[in-house]
């Protein structure tokens, strides 16, 4: 009985410690808890899966640094899939915050070791200013809008860019967008009727659903869940799975502790009544 009495008032410090452990363990060694893949992620996957080898994909980013946790695992999973499908990718960002993250993606996925050649298999254009106006002019004429790539090389010198001159040259738009999402749809997707798949954060997800039913967006990844779902689809255990495992384990911990606390409280009440 004594132990249960103690459980009634669990020391918050114990809760903090347990939470830290429960978060850290799945991050170090992801468990891969089973998850139901949502229709949104499945549709995203189908678009990429249908790509023919050598397809030109436009991959752009627009979210603040603080959202990196929610976006980066999605980016890693999707890029792996694109590379496996032998797509040729043009990377760009609509926000100054994002280009360093694209460079990190190249090193984390060791593009060079995989034999991917810069200039023919992929290109990084860096930050394109102007949001809506920048997007519109990019869609009209890529070479006029972007003179040089992220490293400062003239765009004309890159063989891949010879084929990417306007929005219609791309077969798929992949966007990791939270802010500027509606501008992107308005300036690039809708005018040129290109298929668009989007990875986004938890806050923006609900707001994008109407675009999905309107057919402007073909698939959506929702925050960490989306990344974990995508990893399940491409059968990879990555950061998204680890994050989602950590998330779920902490949910289970909280639920378990709440139940234990209540059971202990009720039992104590009962024993008090008996002793009377």
């Amino acid at each position: 009985m004594g132990a249960i009495m103690k459980l009634r008032a669990i020391d918050p410090k114990v809760v903090y410690l347990l939470l830290f452990i429960v978060l850290a363990v799945p991050l170090i060694r992801p468990i891969g808890l089973p998850i139901e893949v949502s229709m949104y992620a499945q549709r995203f996957y189908n678009q990429v899966e249908a790509l023919k080898p050598g397809a030109l994909v436009f991959y752009s980013l627009s979210f603040t640094v603080a959202k990196t946790v929610e976006f980066y695992p999605q980016m890693v999973a999707v890029t792996q899939h694109l590379v496996a499908k032998k797509a040729r990718i043009v990377y760009a960002s609509w926000l100054v915050d994002n280009p360093p993250l694209v460079e990190k993606l190249f090193t984390d996925l060791s593009f060079e070791k995989r034999g991917l050649k810069y200039g023919t298999d992929y290109v990084h254009l860096g930050f394109i200013p102007g949001v809506a106006t920048g997007m519109a002019s990019f869609a009209r004429d890529v070479h006029k809008t972007v003179g040089a790539d992220y490293g400062g090389k003239p765009v004309g010198d890159l063989p891949l860019m010879a084929e990417a001159k306007k929005a219609q040259d791309f077969v798929l738009l992949v966007g990791f967008l939270s802010i500027n999402f509606d501008q992107f749809v308005g300036q690039i997707q809708t005018p040129y009727k290109l298929p668009l798949v989007v990875g986004t954060d938890g806050v923006s997800f609900a707001g994008m659903l109407p675009y999905l039913s309107a057919g402007q967006v073909m698939g959506i990844l929702n925050s960490m869940i989306g990344a974990a779902e995508y990893e399940a689809l491409i059968r990879v255990t990555g950061k998204g799975t680890g994050y989602m495992d950590a998330q779920q384990m902490s949910h289970f911990l909280i639920i378990a502790l709440v139940i234990v606390g209540n059971v202990a409280m009720i039992m104590q009440r009962g024993s008090r009544r008996e002793s009377r």
Binding site: K13, L27, Q247, H251
Partner: protein, 232 residues
Amino acid sequence: MIEAIGNVIAAACILSIFSYLYSENRAFRLVEHLFIGIAAGHMVVMTIFTLRSSLWVPLSRGSTVLVIPLVLGLLLYFIFSKKYSYIYRLSMALLIGVGTGLSLRAAAHANLAVQIAATMTPLVASPLDAFKTFNNILTLVMVVGTISYFFFHWEQRGILGASGKIGRYAMMIAFGASFGNTVMGRLAVLIGQVDFLLFTEGIYVIPVALVCFLVAAFYPGLKSKKPKKDRT
């Protein structure tokens, strides 16, 4: 190299702040002050840039009306005068007036007209759907219940009392659901931080912090002299 140093500093800041969970201590206090200082500097820089673009540049290009906010902004500093401190109220009056106006219009439109209109939907769902109809009726009852919880003047008895009680329960369900739903977003940020601590150079700070913590815990005499966790 610079990135590694940055990561170590960042991890030290993070751990010092986390140490507040155990108890307020010197490491937390130091980072707290550093954080406030840098944040204050950052806000000053941002504010100066804002004032430059929204006040100084248009003023120098001939928008002379902007002399009014310039003067009102400077009048605020009369708060430091003992004799004329009331003058600052002229500037605050502008803010309070505008704030009240903005609140009034948002309350009347977004929070009253739109919300009342949203409740005025047919109760019976068409095509006939028992579950949707039930939901519609329940929503209406709960909205009315919640409103009647807030009566100040009339006593909460009879119908009003019963309705208010429904309102209380509706609010409790809502608070519970909202609580449960927020957990996910809050943990996401924490997961990002734990990930950072474990997978960057920041990991070297963890043992240092642990040693400091143990030293502080087992030699209470040192407690008042040494911080519990390493300093930045």
